[in-house]
């Protein structure tokens, strides 16, 4: 791996600021975190996107969409294990030393089908859901970047709020 250390450092500063603004935390072990960011940038140069440094990317962006950092599995892993799969992100408990950092089992399914087609609104409200953090927004098109977790537009999926979930008159 040969990534310019200055590029790694700049990416780290930006990522850290974005994480904190969204209520997330980078791993406070700076050497660890810089190593992972170097891996992410290596994957950016290799594949054109930020494939998780701890998973084997296929090189096909559509197939790898779920493991583009921040991956679809980060938030459940933070909740269950206190860290995401590669431990780039850690929970408050781990950050505060109340919970040890341990390696995280892989929850990405071995068999991955195609994404389900967009659900029909059928009287409900059509929303966009960020697959990374669950942010919902009621617009015609998803935002370019998720305001919470900074995931890009392609990570949003259609989501229908059924009429029963809507507030009454």
């Amino acid at each position: 791996m040969t990534v310019d250390p200055e590029r790694v450092r700049k990416t780290y500063e930006q990522l850290k600021a974005d994480a904190e603004a969204g209520g997330y935390h980078l791993n406070p072990d700076e050497a660890w975190t810089l190593g992972l960011i170097e891996g992410l940038l290596t994957n950016e140069d290799r594949y054109g996107y930020w494939a998780c440094p701890c998973r084997l990317a296929s090189g096909n962006k559509d197939e790898d969409l779920d493991i583009i950092c921040p991956c679809d599995y980060r938030d459940p892993d933070l909740y269950d294990w206190g860290a995401c799969y590669c431990a780039l992100y850690v929970s408050d408990e781990v950050l505060e030393g109340k919970r040890p950092l341990q390696s995280v089992p892989e929850r990405r399914p071995a068999q991955r089908g195609k994404r389900a087609p967009a659900p029909e609104p059928a009287g409900g409200i059509r929303l966009w859901r960020c697959r990374v953090c669950g942010y919902l927004c009621a617009r015609e098109h998803p935002p370019g970047v998720c305001p919470v977790c900074k995931a890009k537009r392609e990570r949003f999926e259609p989501f229908v709020l059924p009429p029963s979930a809507m507030p009454g008159p």
Partner: protein, 89 residues
């Protein structure tokens, strides 16, 4: 020769992965730099990568890295407790 060194350990990893870096360091401290084999799967050419992944799927349906093989055991993920059990501290 003690039980732990009967078979030369083999690690499959990813060159970009932090847990693989930790596993490599653990094995280097235990066996020395040349004391085990290391294959970075992400650096293999396409057809070789596919062949290796097919091989790894014989051991687990969902291969994850690092994967360390020794003495008929396969340890998936960075597991210091398992390394100590299989290799001795």
């Amino acid at each position: 020769m003690d039980k732990a060194t009967r078979q030369r350990p083999l690690m499959y990893g990813l060159s970009t992965c932090g847990w693989c870096r930790k596993a490599r360091t653990w094995l280097e401290e235990r066996f020395g730099e040349g004391g085990f084999d290391l294959i970075y799967v992400d650096l293999l050419p396409g057809d070789e990568k596919a062949r290796v992944m097919e091989e790894l799927r014989k051991h687990t349906p969902n291969p994850a890295f690092p994967m360390v093989f020794a003495d008929g055991e396969c340890i998936i993920g960075y597991r210091e407790d398992e390394y100590r059990r299989v290799f001795g501290a």
